[in-house]
Amino acid sequence: MKSAKVVGVLIPIFIASTIYYINNKKPATHLVEFTAPFVFGRFTVPQNNPLTQESVLLGRRLFYDPLLSSNNQVSCATCHKQPLAFTDGLKTSVGVSGKPLAFNSMSLVNLMWGPKHFFWNGRSPSLEDQAIQPIEHLDEMSRNIEDLLVDLNNDDTYRDLFKRAFGEVSAQGIAKALANFQRMLISSNSRYDQYIRGELTLSSIEEQGRKLFMAHPDTKVILRGGNCIDCHSQFLTGGFSTMFDGFSNNGLDDDQALQAGLFTLTNNEAHRGLFKAPTLRNIAVTAPYMHDGRFTTLEDVLAHYNGGIKRSKTLSPLIIEADNIPKTQKNHISLNLNDDEIIAIIAFLHTLTDKEFLTNPAFSNPFTEENNNG
């Protein structure tokens, strides 16, 4: 009798602990192996979101799935298309509401490096946060997260992918998976990368453009420069990563038209009109340009720096001062580059196109792949 009582107590305990163990068992995951150029420098991955193969696989599927939008027609890839270096070719993006959004779609590349403030105005502190914001934004994807979780739980494939990556379907898992897929979007095989690795020499015009890109002009020593390096780092070609060094007012608007920019995040008047300096990798395929897509071509962009700068209270002194001829017209700000130099800089910018990145199957739409496989 006694032993039957003991067994009667032990069995429920055993069953309960088994259920608890199964429910709380961490999935066996595998870290991603990847390479990146030494010159990109240090990077960090959040401790609570290890870069696992399982999360990247899930993130890629979520990225391309219109299930993430309220009308099931808009996915992340709608505004971030691989052939356009994960931009959309529009002045400003359009989501489920059909209204043009406030900003031009930013290229998604080499996101583990550079400023740790995402979006043009730096409003997001992490890739995980950046990934989840558009899903809930009324004009972008307008998806109720709770409803989305129900739909994902009802999908066998997603349930399995989430189980392998995180154990269960969750909003946090969506953000982590999308962030990790985007971390894997590494572009490092452009002609410029190959030049840095010593695998090729640039043409004479590209080399002239590279030198201009890398130089702040100084008429005292007859050094001509395009002044690009003052905002775009030499290897990553994006904004600087320390504090807010990666943000700048590049003279797009005067004081009357000056937009909030980084002020949105910091509430500091000195940051009004400062926007994130974007990566220039694949810049030849990411038109139109600037945070509001106001410039259609790279020629337009160079024309802006060569005479189109507007003064405002937060305009960078580096832009006001940069000039390839001794200052004569004090109120007119221009780099005063000649036509050949403009052509050279644009030729160099084209060396930043990484065709392998733009066509890498690992970054492509998995649904297309599944359909093709039958």
Binding site: V39, M214, H216, D218, S233, F235, T242, M243
Partner: protein
């Protein structure tokens, strides 16, 4: 007479030895964090970025500063018979972090009996010629010119206003020749109880003339007159060697140890 056996004697000797060791160890100063705290000033006024104006020290008009950063490197502390040199000792000091100062922490060293402290302003020629990511050195940072030129040792940007005219101020000072090593005599009184040595960085001293001509605004403790450069005459310095030299001359004079009570935070 009490007779001790051998075992008792050994135990007594051992006990005395242990007590002695513990006592000596207790008197040995424990390692502490040494903090080098840098307070930026313009003459006698604390530097406030963006919002505060200061008189052009060598001419007319007022100036304001939007960005100020510099590299402090190769920190070494010396005792009477030994020294400690920090590894990977490249620190970017900047003043836009929400406090009125920036600081470097050297963890767990003996902070008593330090006789001298030395540090470099800028980046030594060996490190300046590489693209290694060491300490705060980052070839993708704002302080990097490009791999052929090296680093800006000091970055100072702002504007000078003379009546209704605004002149951009851009001082990007680099080049191997500009690297300066400063040595400071240290006494225990110069280190606060919490292990802090306070340094004053006086931006005006970057505009100190090497000659005796020019307008004089301030006096050293020795009542020696300092002549200053007119910022409107040298409003931007980047690659012109003579101008770089003029500003880098100030590297030898613009940092001093100060007593904590003289610092207003």
């Amino acid at each position: 007479m009490v007779k001790y056996n051998k075992l008792t004697m050994i135990l007594i000797i051992l006990s005395v030895a242990i007590v002695a060791i513990v006592a000596v160890d207790g008197y040995r100063p424990l390692p502490k964090d040494l903090i080098l705290r840098f307070h930026p000033y313009v003459g006698n006024q604390p530097l406030v970025l963006h919002h505060q104006s200061y008189k052009n020290p060598g001419g007319s008009g007022d100036f304001s500063i939007t960005d100020f950063q510099l590299f402090i490197s190769n920190i070494t502390v010396k005792y009477s018979t030994s020294s400690i040199s920090e590894l990977n000792s490249y620190h970017l000091i900047r003043f836009d972090g929400g406090t009125s100062f920036d600081q470097i922490l050297i963890p767990k060293i003996k902070i008593k009996d330090i006789e001298t402290l030395s540090l470099g302003i800028g980046v030594d020629p060996k490190a300046n010629g590489t693209i290694m990511f060491t300490g705060d050195l980052d070839p993708n940072s704002r302080m990097a010119w490009n791999w052929q030129v090296g680093y800006k040792f000091l970055l100072l940007e702002g504007k000078l206003t003379i009546e209704d005219k605004q002149i951009p101020l851009v001082y990007h000072i680099g080049f191997d020749e500009s690297y300066a090593v400063l040595n400071f005599d240290i006494t225990d009184e110069k280190i606060s109880n919490d292990g802090v040595i306070n340094f004053k960085i006086d931006l005006l001293r970057l505009f100190q003339k090497t000659s005796i001509t020019g307008k004089s605004l301030a006096k050293t403790p020795l009542k020696q007159k300092i002549n200053y450069i007119d910022m409107s005459e040298i409003s931007q310095v980047k690659f012109a060697p003579d101008d770089v030299k003029k500003i880098a001359y100030g590297f030898h004079h613009f940092i001093n140890i100060v007593n904590i009570v003289n610092i207003v935070n």
